[in-house]
Symmetry: C2
Subunit: 201 residues, 2 copies
Amino acid sequence: MPSPNIGPELQRLIDLLAKLPGLGPRSAKRAALHLLKKREPLMRPLAFALIDAADKVKACGTCGNWDSIDPCAICADASRDPGVLCVVQDVGDLWALERAGAHKGRYHVLGGLLSPLDGIGPNDLNIGSLVARVSVGGVKEVVLALPSTVDGQTTAHYLCDQLSSSRVSVTRLSQGVPVGGELDYLDEGTLAAAMKTRRPA
Amino acid sequence: MPSPNIGPELQRLIDLLAKLPGLGPRSAKRAALHLLKKREPLMRPLAFALIDAADKVKACGTCGNWDSIDPCAICADASRDPGVLCVVQDVGDLWALERAGAHKGRYHVLGGLLSPLDGIGPNDLNIGSLVARVSVGGVKEVVLALPSTVDGQTTAHYLCDQLSSSRVSVTRLSQGVPVGGELDYLDEGTLAAAMKTRRPA
């Protein structure tokens, strides 16, 4: 609800800031005040960074990662193994795997998950381009790094089906106890999975 | 720490978003992804709203409130009582009082609190303009709506001193149990204050 005594320019800024994930109506007001106090060091640079990124950042034509160059820095990096493709839902998941240094191959960003309930089918995702990429040859393994949710499992099954005709090996991330995790706080599904796939100590 | 495989435009946007209060490095990445998915409905409008507000929103020459008109909408509102001035630390506090509909007079925004430790003295705040505003006449009461902190109390005492030569009555917000608050969770200082200033039921 707009406050009667906030000017239209300020109210508009607050309304737009409140649409960012992690900011609600109150923290958007706080952010707007903070920005107005730092017009030259933060407010104007942020405006230009938004325009710059909106203009230059594009989805990589090969893998779907967001970068200002195409192919993206990961696809263009000759030191990365082109034989292992890691399939992720979103660019945020790609960043998480990069932060962990967990993958030395290339990626393929689906742009979402299959979700019959939300009406998201195979043609809404970058699945055709994944199958095409694999069928060209050179890929030995496809790692499905998808979330352990119903939609994630549905998507993983569908991708296994689609890739079954190629001779690529399809793997998925293992499930188990998080590093540093207390057993007491883990859900039963994870505990059961960790027990089932137990390994020699 | 910048991730090696995020392009410079995107990294710059994430770094600036992370400087907003309420957003950390991870939520800034999430916000950047959200913005890139909504370039036309959110990202570009936010950039233009930032520039527009940075250009147009100014401190009111009378009270220090932020608005795109000067005097601000509150100072220009003839239906508000010019005889009661509410002194606040910041525009955010003014908004909070407006949201509560708690004050029908005008405001005076100090722009901070006296803080000997941080080197903030009377000349760094809008105190001279408050004294001048009161000395012109027409103001019957000055309500100090300042926080119950050491700096807030210091500032309140200093303002009482400065205003003592004028014949204006200086009041402050009462302290006590918050509406809907459980006694059990209140600090001892607030409980003691509420008991000391108890009123007939």
